[in-house]
């Protein structure tokens, strides 16, 4: 059952092989400026035994924490603690997207208009909310309303890089290096 669930989670996340994970696992990310402004899209696969077959997705903004709607996570909370908490439950794919300070401010302005951490539903769901924030920031997406599709979509943005985190960890070192920049000030 667990194997099936993991396979489904990987399917929704668009990760069909372990080779992909090994590709991102040891990436030193020399091209990422850890002091710059950037965003993360954090997508999680299906949880074993969960009623939710679609997975979950949230967004993190430089210096402002994580914005994960619908799973009772405080908006603007710590990014590494969030990823670690989710890591106990599911596989994750974290996509790094280079952005400008103005883009980050636009995303935060969007989130300020949506202060309810569980204020999403079937159609205006976690993926839709993340898409809307990215679009508000001028990051083009295809508005795919599913976590896995959104994760694949943002993975094709020029300059983006993806990290695979298997359930139980570990968090790739390249991602650990840049996470402090996303913690809330």
């Amino acid at each position: 059952m667990k194997t099936r669930s993991v396979a489904l989670g990987l399917l929704f996340l668009g990760l069909g092989s372990a080779a992909h994970a090994s590709y991102v696992g040891g990436n030193p990310l020399n091209s990422i400026d850890p002091t710059g402004t950037n965003q993360l899209v954090i997508a999680g696969g299906q949880i074993n035994g969960s009623y939710n077959v679609f997975g979950h997705v949230g967004n993190a903004v430089t210096g402002a924490g994580v914005f994960s709607y619908g799973n009772d996570t405080n908006l603007g909370s710590g990014v590494q603690s969030y990823i670690t908490s989710q890591m106990a439950l599911r596989n994750q794919v974290v996509t790094f997207i280079p952005t400008s300070p103005a883009q980050d401010q636009a995303a935060l302005a969007f989130y300020a208009l949506h202060p309810g951490r569980n204020s999403v539903g079937y159609f205006d769901n976690c993926a839709a909310r993340t898409n809307q924030a990215l679009n508000a920031a001028g990051v083009p997406t295809q508005d795919i309303p599913f976590p896995g599709g959104l994760s694949r979509d943002v993975g094709s943005i020029p300059g983006s890089q993806q990290f695979f985190i298997p359930q139980g960890g570990p968090i790739p070192q390249g991602l650990l290096n840049i996470l402090p920049g996303f913690e809330p000030h």
Binding site: G44, I47, N48, G49, S50, Y51, N52, V53, F54, H56, Y69, G70, N71, D72, T73, S85, Q86, A88, L89, R90, N118, V120, G121, Y122, N125, C126
Partner: protein, 111 residues
Amino acid sequence: MNTASKLIVGAIVLIPVLYLGSCGVITHQHEKSFAQVHDGDTEAQVIQVMGEPTDRETPSNRLAKYGAPECQAPCVQRLWYPNKLSLAGEAWSVELDGAGRVVHTAHITSP
């Protein structure tokens, strides 16, 4: 269109309608009950309004399937009321402190 075809078409139309209707009814009933639960209520009051929970979570026994953050102090127990027809994992949670009083409630819509 013969009778068999009509039955098949009818079933194709009816099944989604029944599913969505049932799912909506469950959501509405839980929402209505959940609105009557407030911080400070006792566990007995919660159960009187919401019914017996489907699951009980404790800090040492995290229920992964709900996808929520850990039950942490002052939470010593979390009562779960899932909408079992929801493909998105909709659920309602009520957190109780050591005195058995409600300290936090949440309507999970995307675990």
